[in-house]
């Protein structure tokens, strides 16, 4: 992994900034000083949101990857009605800001549909819904980039629509759109912070709560920035590793 040491060096550099700041009396690093017991408690409190941030984003992206495909396929149909359905879905779903979708799903939907929805699932649903429109567009571009000869070859060996998609078109399309999907995943990790507004106990919410308790926004939010930074660097490296693994076979 050639990129890891370089990102690690950058991380050290960035970590230096607050360290320098520690010399100034504007900073009060004691709130997150791991050598004191209260500092350590605060740090673990901040990090305890990590699991929910990951779980929320991973669940949401898993759903939106499936949903996105189901939305994309009608968009590639010859049938104008199916294509219209796809357009309407994409245009409507990607229009509202994610924050608005979260509020609507959490406060609006239970009233409209007379159901109860947990903070977690409201967050997952809002994120997945919003992302599905973007995933659908990514799929569409990926599938359209596949040569028409591939469909014809599949047809001449009598593959039906589902087999053609599953064994011929999608495996090729997905290799091509993996970088774009990786980007969406990183974007989703960031947007998951918005779910803090409905009380989801993820990274951002934890930081907000600690700020309220300690009145040290500078230090706490600096840690929060670092948390997202590390998380996203790790995820990007994982995505790149996965991409390489998937393309290894045919590129050799």
């Amino acid at each position: 992994m050639a990129s890891f040491p370089r990102s690690a060096r950058w991380l050290c550099l960035i970590a230096l900034i607050p360290a320098l700041g520690a010399c100034s009396d504007r900073w009060g690093w004691y709130v997150v000083n791991p050598t004191t017991s209260s500092g350590w408690t605060n740090l673990t409190f901040l990090m305890s949101g990590l699991w929910y941030t990951i779980l929320l984003s991973v669940t949401a992206i898993a759903i939106s990857i499936v949903l996105g495909l189901l939305v994309a396929l009608p968009g590639l149909s010859k049938n104008p009605f199916l294509r219209a359905l796809n357009r309407i879905y994409v245009e409507i779903v990607r229009a509202p800001p994610i924050l608005v979708l979260i509020l609507w799903v959490y406060y609006g939907l239970p009233q409209a549909a007379d159901i109860e929805i947990s903070v977690f699932w409201a967050g997952v649903f809002a994120l997945a819904l919003s992302d599905s429109a973007f995933e659908a567009e990514i799929y569409r571009a990926g599938i359209q980039s596949i040569d028409k000869g591939q469909y014809e070859a599949a047809q001449t060996i009598s593959l039906g629509y589902v087999d053609t998609m599953r064994y011929v078109i999608l495996p090729q399309a997905i290799r091509r759109i993996l970088p774009a999907m990786g980007n969406q995943f990183v974007y989703m990790l960031k947007m998951s912070s918005l779910v803090s507004v409905i009380g989801m106990q993820e990274l951002t919410r934890k930081a907000n709560e600690l700020v309220t308790a300690e009145y040290r926004p500078l230090e706490v939010y600096s840690i929060l920035v670092l948390e997202y930074l590390v998380l996203i660097l790790v995820v990007s490296a994982l995505v790149r590793w996965f991409e390489r693994r998937l393309t290894e076979g045919e590129a050799r």
């Binding site: 000869g149 591939q150 014809e152 060996i157 593959l159 045919e250």
Partner: protein
């Protein structure tokens, strides 16, 4: 030699195909009997590809009638079935599946649409890879092979569906000259085994060797149909004479 006493396996009568207002096929009629080898030639844009693509409904004709093994082609289940059971095709651009190994390119059809087990399909695939003389490439990916080898894989892939008719659309036009013969040899071997074939090609040496019937097309029409002895020595139409003049070595 093709049998002349049976009904044709492929029959086109008055077939037309429009792209927008452009007539790519204009009232084309042609009968192909079981075992017959037809070579189609003609200038670029004359409708050769369209003609053979109508036979397996990669293009849908607009007028006239095409029947395959007695079944009239159209939007019917019987039509789809007779095409699936009867016709194989080889493309100019190979159209191999780049993400699958050679072996999996060959087994995909038999497994997914013939319901074979992986093991049965692999045996079948190896048989046809032997036949096109590249069994040792089975576990490579298409892009690791030369163009000639890729086209032979494509032929083997079509043969794995055990078709009764093979359609070739300029199978050597995308190849470097030194690779043309290895593909033509495989096709000639296939012809001598009795396969019914329609080949669009400008390889006139090959045509002389294997064709039972030569077809010359121009502007969407079949201008001349003749056995090669007559076709090459004494073609009727001026357009065909003209074309042969240009294409044959003097």
């Amino acid at each position: 030699m093709p049998r002349t006493d049976t009904a044709p396996i492929i029959s086109l009568s008055g077939v037309s195909k429009l792209f927008g207002t452009f007539k790519a096929l204009d009232q084309v009629s042609l009968d192909v009997r079981e075992g017959e080898r037809v070579v189609v030639c003609g200038p670029s844009g004359s409708g050769k590809s369209t003609l053979i693509r109508c036979v397996n409904r990669l293009e849908k004709h607009d007028a006239g009638e095409i029947s395959l093994d007695g079944v009239v082609l159209g939007n019917t289940r019987a039509s789809a079935k007779v095409i699936a059971d009867t016709v194989g095709m080889v493309f100019q651009q190979f159209n191999l599946f780049p993400h699958l190994t050679v072996l999996n390119n060959l087994t995909l059809g038999p497994v997914r649409s013939r319901g074979m087990t992986e093991a049965e399909a692999e045996t079948l695939a190896m048989k046809y890879l032997e036949r096109v003389k590249i069994p040792e490439q089975a576990h490579k990916f298409p892009r690791q092979l030369s163009g000639g080898q890729q086209q032979r894989v494509a032929i083997a892939r079509a043969l794995c569906m055990e078709p009764r008719v093979m359609l070739f659309d300029e199978p050597t036009s995308a190849l470097d000259p030194e690779m043309i013969n290895e593909v033509l040899d495989v096709m000639a071997e296939l012809a001598s085994s009795g396969m019914t074939m329609i080949c669009v090609t400008h390889e006139m040496g090959f045509a002389r060797r294997v064709a039972d019937t030569m077809v010359f097309m121009d502007k969407g029409q079949i201008v001349e149909t003749a056995p090669p002895e007559i076709f090459f020595t004494n073609p009727e139409s001026a357009r065909c004479q003209d074309f042969l003049q240009k294409i044959l070595p003097h």
